[in-house]
Amino acid sequence: MAIMDGYFGSYVVVVVLLLIGVGIFAGGLFANRMLRPDRPTPDKLTTYECGVDPVGEGWAQSQVRYYVFTYLYVVFAVDAVFLFPWATVFAAPGFGMTTLVEMFVFLAFIALGILYAWRKRVLAWT
């Protein structure tokens, strides 16, 4: 009975926990459904804007700065992905200083991107 062992076993446990999590959520909502009153009125269902009637539709244009921050993150996240396999091997025999330098060259290139963003005042607001 090796279902709970090894590679597949540990991910079975993870999936079971995920299902338990969904179960907790569903259980909370179910308890709520059993216990709560349900008397919707049009006033209750309007959008809340500090007590005054909502203006326009319920969607606000966001600004492009946020997009730049997100893209900065994406670029760095994809390079952080390589940091993890690197971290497990760089000190092993046969790698050493060369591998360290390789990663720092990689990081230095990306860091130029931050430097550029900073010089062009993308990171500042005003």
Binding site: M1, G21, L35, P37, R39, F69, G96
Partner: protein, 317 residues
């Protein structure tokens, strides 16, 4: 059979910890914050120093009407709290509390934690967009931008520990930890903790729910049990962040005299207290200061820590 039972016990412990520890942290927050502000905090519920306050709150939330605004996107609105909450539960499965005491031994544990916690950002965007409320959309955007910006120093600081230990398994990292990692990984620890605080959207990083600007941000339209689940996600997040910091940077179960799990719990609660302390002590940052802190402060520091870790490790080898 014994194996299945063993796994079942582990899962039950994880679920109980997930439901109980956030309540204890919440109660601790009520009392600690009150005393720091020369108040008493909850005193009545349950008798002794209001110990049952949060249970009473929970019962109250469960009885409240579940109002979904007419303009909202009902389905997305309904499942957003689950997307915010469940990742924190799933993450707990790989956090070790003692040697061998872990829900599942995942080889890529550290990377697993970071990947799963990254999913939580979708919960904020979904809640913000589906509420059909301008303030919620603004809050959702702020939350998403903040989570993305601070995920990066978090990932970099975590990878510094992985470099030091040479493994991604959280159990392996805690096993390899030695006291001199404290000064060696100090920068990384601070970066990780601060970035984690920002990930939780706790004060002083609570721009996404800044009540004086955008009401309650993504949670403006949420009521009753769904709101309670968002709050549970926040406090579960404190527990997960504290536990991760303890395992990665403070040696997890390692410590003299007391058994391992007790040490883990002590470290978790000390860190949770620091989270609360920070909330009481610092004013909210402005949105642009927030982004600046991430990109000009934490990211370069994390890169510095990476360089330090790498050079020391290679010179030692």
């Amino acid at each position: 059979m014994a194996e299945v039972l063993d796994v079942a016990v582990r899962l039950i412990v994880i679920v109980v910890a997930f439901l109980l520890l956030p309540l204890i942290v919440g109660q601790m927050e009520h009392k600690a914050m009150a005393h720091m502000q020369s108040r008493l905090g909850p005193m009545y519920a349950g008798g002794f120093h209001g110990w049952a306050q949060l249970i009473a709150d929970g019962v109250k939330f469960a009885q409240k009407e579940d109002v979904i605004p007419a303009a909202a996107d009902r389905r997305v609105f309904a499942i957003a709290p689950a997307v915010a909450l469940v990742p924190y539960l799933v993450v707990l499965v790989v956090i070790p509390v003692g040697p061998g005491l872990v829900g599942a031994d995942v080889d890529a544990g550290l990377f697993f934690v970071l990947a799963v916690m990254g999913v939580g950002v979708l919960g904020a965007i979904m809640a913000g967009w589906a509420s059909a409320n301008k303030y919620s959309v603004l809050g959702g955007m702020r939350a998403a931008a903040q989570l993305m910006s601070y995920e990066l120093p978090l990932v970099l600081a975590a990878s510094s520990v992985a470099m030091a230990a040479g493994t991604l398994s959280l159990e392996g990292i805690a096993e390899q930890w030695r006291w001199w990692w404290l000064p060696w990984q100090a920068i990384g620890a601070v970066v990780f903790f601060v970035a984690g605080l920002a990930e939780l959207r706790r004060p002083p990083f609570d721009m996404p729910i800044a009540d004086s600007e955008i009401i309650m941000g993504t949670m403006t339209e949420y009521t009753g049990i769904r709101f309670a689940l968002f709050m549970l996600a926040e406090y579960a997040g404190i527990v997960v962040l504290s536990a991760l910091t303890a395992v990665l940077f403070l040696g997890g179960w390692q410590g003299p005299l007391l058994p391992g799990p007790v040490w883990t719990l002590i470290k978790v609660f000390v860190l949770a207290f620091v989270v609360i302390w920070v909330r009481v002590s610092f004013p909210r940052l402005r949105e642009d200061q927030l982004q600046k802190l991430a990109w000009i402060g934490l990211v370069p520091l994390a890169l510095l820590q990476l360089a330090l870790t790498g050079v020391v490790k290679v010179l030692m080898a």
